[in-house]
């Protein structure tokens, strides 16, 4: 077990705070309430991560990825089944657009949504570790799970994959996706010690996300 239960809770809580901030940002963008939650975080193998995001079905996925570097490095991915992503985009850009128009906007909108969510997660981690990280501009990937992983999380990559599902609720739509974080071993050990240090902080309670700017 990579994390003990408390540490896992702490990481989960940290990501929840991060996505709550994302939700606040998206909510402002959309002009409607947006709720987002991260139920749990698990350390998984690449194959498990792949099985999780594809649901063991040959569905088409859309992923937004960022690469980060600094004191720790790795890759962050936000993955949606493509059909869901269209709903997400429709929920974000508005119901008045037709399917074709939404499909045209899909990549733009997904990159931005992914950017908001991943940046919040990364900045949450960076805050927790008390360091700066540099992240690239987000890229969009489409295709099957294996195709996306080939270009983002390679077989030979060392490191640990943190995988969590993420549930959106926008305009009465519930849209489920996944966040995949690939971190190198250095990042994971830093994270573990940072988590340990901040467990107390977690217990005291992090700032209320609704008050976040």
């Amino acid at each position: 077990m990579l994390f003990d239960e408390l540490e896992r809770d702490a990481v989960t809580e940290m990501l929840n705070v991060a996505v709550s901030r994302s939700a606040a940002a998206l909510s402002r963008m959309v002009g409607k309430p947006v709720a987002m939650s991260v139920p749990d975080v698990r350390a998984v193998s690449r194959a498990e991560a792949l099985g999780t995001i594809t649901g063991n079905r040959n569905t088409s996925l859309i992923a937004v990825g960022e690469q980060f570097s600094g004191p720790f490095s790795g890759r962050a991915l936000l993955v949606f089944p493509e059909a869901r992503s269209l709903h997400l985009v429709q929920a974000i850009v508005g119901e008045h657009l037709s399917l074709e128009e939404i499909a045209d906007l899909e990549e733009d909108a997904m990159i931005e949504v992914g950017n908001v969510i991943l940046n919040n997660c990364l900045s949450g981690i960076a805050n927790m570790l008390g360091c700066r990280i540099e992240a690239t501009l987000p890229h969009c990937f489409q295709g099957g799970g294996e195709q996306i992983f080939k270009r983002t999380i390679r077989d030979g990559d060392s490191g640990v994959i943190l995988c969590t599902s993420i549930a959106f609720s926008i305009r009465d739509r519930d849209i489920g996706g996944f966040i995949i974080l690939l971190m190198d071993l250095n990042a994971i050990s830093n994270l573990r010690s940072a988590v340990a240090r901040s467990v107390d902080g977690v217990r005291r309670g992090l700032p209320d996300p609704r008050n976040a700017p």
Partner: protein, 659 residues
């Protein structure tokens, strides 16, 4: 590259460049920004970006700037998703529209340390181009889909609705806006099993607006949009098509049945005639038990003949002799003929018939048909009621109609549909053969008209025979069939009639243009001691037969159905012809002979004649032949007007056109 060079390059760029320091103060504000924001560099530089542009405070750009400064993260920001980006106007001298911008925010370094680079791209031209392309692309699509009367629905692979055309909104009573994102099963619950999506053709019973059911034929197309499978459902209402197909199937079935029964009946009839003729020969030569048996053979053959006549009529293989039949006199005649049959509980009323309504039809067959309809009407009103006869010209030229309406029990749609099929009857076992209406329909069609039934449970039935109107030069049934042979319709199956016409003519010399032979008549006539000795009158002897007509028809009351006169003797036939008004038409006496099973009701003699009566049996036959023919009727199958009443009366009166 010197600072000056760098600044010159920045100012030359066709995009906005802003750099802020770690205090969010503007360090660089390039010329493009000056031009499109209307804010001079002097005003901008050194000022907090979000104090300068307070509308952007708290927005997406501020968050991105914060992430870039605090953590080192980059962001892309699209005008598609955000509405509160930089307040920039195009300022191209033509329009004052806002610049559609996509923004990249990334960390950078300034002389003072951490900074943030904001790049702003003008997407207005691209947006306009996309809009035009999209409009062009969808114009043809919408022209087709929005004008289509069929339903078009687009769903994704999860079955969520993405769009629908106006026909769908109308058909299902919903709006596209309300249904967007909803599962397709809300409109078509049968598509619950998603594997159905992708089937090229699905036929289901769908429920549209107002709960109205219809047969839906759904063809599906599937297409990929950015890797996502979508399905377009084309939903067509095929209710009418299915009904037409069902009608066609029924018509074909009846036609096949007609061809079969017609062929069999024809051949069988010939055999019956041989049997009957020989039995009569035997009857003339034997006494006692043997004679009684021979008489029974004769009677059985007659009953068989009645049945085959009905079948022939249904199969439209009855020879017809169309003449001018003024409908007013025809109705008058049938009213008088039928009165004794209808009983006291049934009123009969005749609506005024426009003078000069003259149909072109076989008079005898028309009377058969009408009598069948009247009897059906009577049977549909077990507790009495009113029968109304109407007749007159049709709106279509050259057509007229005659209709019989009752106030009886009516028919359910199911019964109505089958009413004209042969052997279909709702009457009790043994009370009818189910040939009545099929004969009427067969006669109407063979006469160049058609037959319609309209009925509703509990609301009575109207049976309408439509016929061709007679032309002025059409032959008149003036009662002299010998002198003015009417033009005839050729028999459909000539093969079965070979060599028969001469026989018919031999029989009476005035059998009309042609008739199936009545060979049983008079093969013995010339023999002394047969006809005379037994005191029977040859069927052809109408002078003797005539008085019997005066007897009226107590026995006929028992008769239930009427079949063509063909089975009767030619003398009867010719008598009809000789009596244009049909006034000689009597009730006749021989119900028991015609309808043996009913004779137990006290209206006549037992048909199974004993030796005591055997002489009379032949007489009965003879007079029966006469009276029956004069009536133009024999007794045959019952049509099903008298179906049980049902509470499920609907608003419209279902109609059935005999195929």
């Amino acid at each position: 590259m010197t600072d000056t060079t760098a600044r010159t390059v920045m100012d030359e760029l066709d995009m906005g460049v802003v750099i802020v320091d770690d205090g969010r103060r503007i360090a660089l504000w390039n010329t493009w920004m000056v031009r499109h924001s209307g804010i001079s560099r002097r005003t901008a530089v050194g000022v907090d970006l979000f104090a300068l542009l307070p509308a952007m405070a708290g927005g997406r750009v501020e968050l991105a700037v914060r992430d870039a400064l605090d953590t080192g993260l980059s962001a892309v920001i699209s005008h598609h998703v955000n509405h509160d980006l930089f307040p920039l106007l195009r300022g191209d001298g033509m329009t004052d529209e806002r610049v559609a911008q996509s923004i990249v925010v990334r960390p950078t370094r300034t002389r003072r340390g951490v900074g943030c680079l904001i790049q702003i791209y003008d997407q207005t031209a691209a947006v306009e181009r996309e809009r035009k392309l999209r409009a062009q692309r969808s114009a043809r699509y919408h022209a087709v889909v929005d004008a289509a009367r069929d339903c078009f629905i687009t769903v994704d692979e999860d079955g969520a609705i993405w769009g629908m055309n106006p026909a769908t909104e109308e058909r299902f009573g919903c709006t596209a806006a309300a249904m967007q994102g909803q599962p397709i099963t809300r409109l078509l619950p049968q598509l619950r099993d998603l594997p159905l999506l992708g089937d090229p053709l699905v036929a289901i019973r769908a429920i549209g607006a107002g709960g109205k059911e219809f047969d839906a034929e759904i063809s599906m197309g599937s297409w990929l949009n950015n890797g996502v499978r979508h399905f377009t459902l084309f939903i067509r209402d095929v209710t009418e098509r299915n009904m037409a197909a069902e009608n066609l199937r029924r018509t074909e079935r009846i036609q096949a049945l007609g061809a079969l029964t017609g062929g069999v009946a024809h051949e069988f009839n010939n055999l019956l005639m041989v049997i009957r003729a020989n039995a009569e020969l035997v009857l003339g030569t034997v006494e006692g038990e043997a004679a009684a048996r021979a008489a029974e053979i004769v009677q059985a053959a007659d009953r068989g003949r009645i049945l085959t006549d009905g079948l022939l009529s249904f199969a439209r293989r009855q020879p017809l002799n169309p003449v001018r039949v003024p409908l007013d006199t025809a109705v008058e005649d049938i009213q008088r003929l039928a009165a004794p049959l209808l009983g006291v509980a049934v009123d009969i009323a005749v609506a005024p018939i426009p003078a000069g309504t003259v149909a072109m039809a076989d008079r005898t067959q028309l009377q058969n048909a009408l009598l069948n309809l009247l009897i059906n009407a009577r049977d549909a009103m077990p507790d009495g009621g009113r029968i109304t006869i109407t007749a007159g010209p049709e709106p279509e030229p050259e057509q007229c109609h005659i209709a019989v309406t009752d106030t009886g029990t009516g028919m359910t749609p199911e019964v109505l549909e089958k009413a004209c099929e042969p052997f279909f009857t709702t009457k009790d076992q043994g009370r009818g053969t189910g040939l009545g209406l099929s004969m009427v329909a067969g006669f109407a069609r063979q006469s160049g008209g058609d037959f319609l039934l309209s009925s509703r449970p509990g609301a009575g039935t109207t049976a309408t025979i439509r016929l061709r109107s007679a032309t002025a030069d059409a032959p008149t049934d003036d009662g002299n069939g010998d002198d003015t042979p009417a033009p005839t319709l050729p028999p459909p199956a000539a093969s079965g009639d070979r060599g028969r016409r001469p026989g018919a003519r031999r029989g009476t010399g005035h059998a009309g243009p042609w008739r199936p032979p009545r060979r049983r008549r008079r093969p013995w006539a010339g023999r002394p001691g047969i006809s005379g000795g037994r005191g029977f009158r040859p069927a052809g002897d109408r002078h003797h037969a005539a008085p019997r007509h005066e007897r009226g028809g107590p026995g006929v009351r028992g008769a239930t159905d009427v079949s063509p006169a063909g089975s009767g003797a030619d003398v009867g036939l010719s008598r009809v012809r000789h009596d244009p008004a049909g006034r000689g038409a009597p009730g006749g006496h021989p119900a028991q002979a015609l309808h043996p099973r009913r004779s137990g009701t006290g209206h006549g003699h037992r048909p199974a004649a004993t030796a005591r009566r055997r002489g009379r049996i032949v007489m009965v036959h003879g007079s029966e032949a006469v009276s029956r023919s004069v009536l133009g009727l024999t007794l045959i199958g019952r049509a099903p007007i008298g179906s049980p009443p049902s509470a499920s009366a609907t608003g419209s009166v279902p109609q059935f056109r005999a195929p």
